[in-house]
Amino acid sequence: MDDYLIGVLSNIGVISFVALSAYLLLLTGEISFGQQAFFAIGAYAAGIATALWGWSLAAALVWGAAVSGGAALLVGVPTLRLHGLYFAIATLAFAEMVRILFELFRYQISIDGELIGPNGTDGFRNIRYIFDHNIDAFQFLLLIYSLLAAAMLGLLLLERSRLGVIFRMIGQDETLAELQGIPVARRKVLAAGIAGTLAGIGGGLYAHLTTYVEPRIFDIMLGVHSLAYGLIGGLGTAFGPLLGVLIDIGLLESIRALAGYRMIIFGGLVALLLIVRPRGLLDEMVVHKIGRGWRRVSLWARRSSLKPRGNSA
């Protein structure tokens, strides 16, 4: 594969984590403008762990995920009492607070005569783990996609589990869920924690992919984009947000002929799409139909294989 393709695919993989994070909260009916904050926390925490503390990449990714997941739990407790727009704006305020705090954050250590570490608005350079350990771009791509596959598997299992049903139920009607004896507030905080962890893993990967992070990357644009991915791709399945990322980064950003007009076309397309399909391409109905069709096909296949051949005469 050529470098450009690897770059685009890596980007798609990493951004998918934030999109999945926003999607998980959308399932519980909450709009978050702030998942980029946990992406940022994961990126900084994992970057500091490898570049400054000399940790291994695996430990750093786990650390980044844990810190951002913990932060998400902490923020979830006061904010998830809020609903709808109030919650959305609170997450936005939190994310912008985090971004500005990273602009003020300085933590540098001299390593081999060179100052390394986050330096306010100048960002955090030289997160060189993958160069120092001779991991090439393709290997890192494989790492991104195996983690993404694991996350997807986890989410798909979650959606089939009791907890997943509870999340969707809360999203449909919170009062009804409460009446069924579901501890709504606690389940929502849990959803926020899982979502924060997902974004944190993505952030850790991002920091090591680009070797450089700065606070400006994690602005509200990233947050609203990741929210939009779920809505474009569809809210019926965890594949929805992935499809959204693929359409935006894969299709539009890669077609260079569109440069300059990309947002005009993309913006218009999204607006029109949402009129026809307000819950995205792969919404619940489509997913249900695909599932039913698949069950029919597999049933038919099983029957025809069970039927003894040449018996009809």
Binding site: L26, G29, I31, P78, T79, R81, L82, H83, G84, L85, Y86, A88, I89, A90, L92, A93, F94, E96, M97, I100, L101, E103, L104, G171, E174, T175, I220, M221, V224, L227, A228, L231, I232, G260, Y261, R262, M263, I264, F266, G267, G268, L269, V270, A271, L272, L274, I275, P278, R279
Partner: protein
């Protein structure tokens, strides 16, 4: 002490424009119960209309002001037609994301028309600041404050002393009931968007004239400032929007003076976050409904 008073004066002046931005926002949110993220970018489009007129035809302040308002209204109607009118009830999130998509579109359109990062914008007044004892007041700030208060008063009059205002308040209370008593809700919503964009356009003109420059980032700036001021003041409250804007201006001016621009932005978000967690209804708003009724 003199610094504090001076900062507060400046804050009130700047805050009046935040109040106007919040006013337009709160009108749209009131009738739609949906967030229009493209509100700021529509105003930015108006700003670009004005700048083009100024750069290529040397238009005066009045012509530029009308161009800004007109541009904002056209863009606002475009957003309403595309992101709000065709959406089914209950597709609130879809409307919001769709307005975000149009935000991206408007920003790109502005960059295509004028590709540099910043462009000059005609100033309001270039005379020396007025002196009141130890305090200085910029003349353009004073014009901004007076215009903002006059416009807010006009919006208040329109809402509470006209037939159309009565219809709007009926829609804000209950769209279904308003429809049943014969109010043409769709037309009223379209007119609200146009009116709110005009108010926003006026606010945009005042801010741009004070800054004397326009950038594509102005859209995001206007959406964020309007949103913060609206939430602090209380969602859906006209006086709240103005008070919230003034408070935001005062807080920002003082924190900028004492701690610099980064802390200024931080403090604005901390205040917003604290309000949402402790007192979500804001300064003058009604208590929020237990849950947002139509969720997408």
């Amino acid at each position: 002490m003199i610094d504090l008073v001076q900062n507060t004066i400046d804050g009130v002046m700047i805050g009046s424009s935040y109040g106007l931005l919040a006013l337009g926002f709160t009108l749209i949110f009131g009738v739609m119960r949906r967030l229009d993220l493209a509100y700021g970018p529509s105003i930015m489009i108006g700003g670009y209309f004005g700048t083009v007129l100024y750069l290529y035809y040397g238009a005066g302040p009045l012509a530029v002001a009308s161009a800004v308002v007109l541009g904002a209204v056209i863009a606002g109607i475009y957003v309403e037609r595309l992101c709000f009118a065709p959406m089914k009830a209950g597709a609130a999130i879809a409307s919001m994301v769709s307005s975000f998509a149009i935000w991206m579109q408007l920003e790109q359109a502005a960059i295509l028309v004028l590709p540099r990062h910043t462009y000059p914008f005609p100033p309001l007044a270039t005379v020396a600041p007025l002196e009141f004892g130890p305090f200085l007041v910029r003349v353009d700030h004073l014009i901004m404050l007076v215009c903002a208060l006059a416009l807010a008063a006009a919006v208040h009059l329109a809402l509470y002393h006209t037939r159309f205002g009565l219809a709007l308040r009926a829609i804000i209370g209950s769209p279904v009931a308003a429809h049943l008593v014969g109010i043409n809700v769709r037309t009223a919503v379209l007119l609200t968007f146009a009116g709110a964009s005009a108010v926003g356009g006026a606010a945009g003109f005042l801010v741009l004239a004070v800054d004397q420059q326009v950038t594509p980032m102005f859209g995001m700036w206007a959406t964020l400032k309007g949103l913060i001021a609206m939430m602090i003041g209380g969602l859906g409250s006209v006086p709240g929007a103005v008070v919230g804007g003034l408070l935001l201006g005062i807080v920002e001016a003082n924190s900028q003076w004492y701690f610099g621009p980064q802390i200024r932005d931080l403090v604005a978000y901390v205040v917003l976050f604290a309000f949402l967690v402790v007192r979500p209804r804001g300064l003058l708003g009604r208590a929020p409904e237990p849950a947002m009724p139509p969720k997408a």
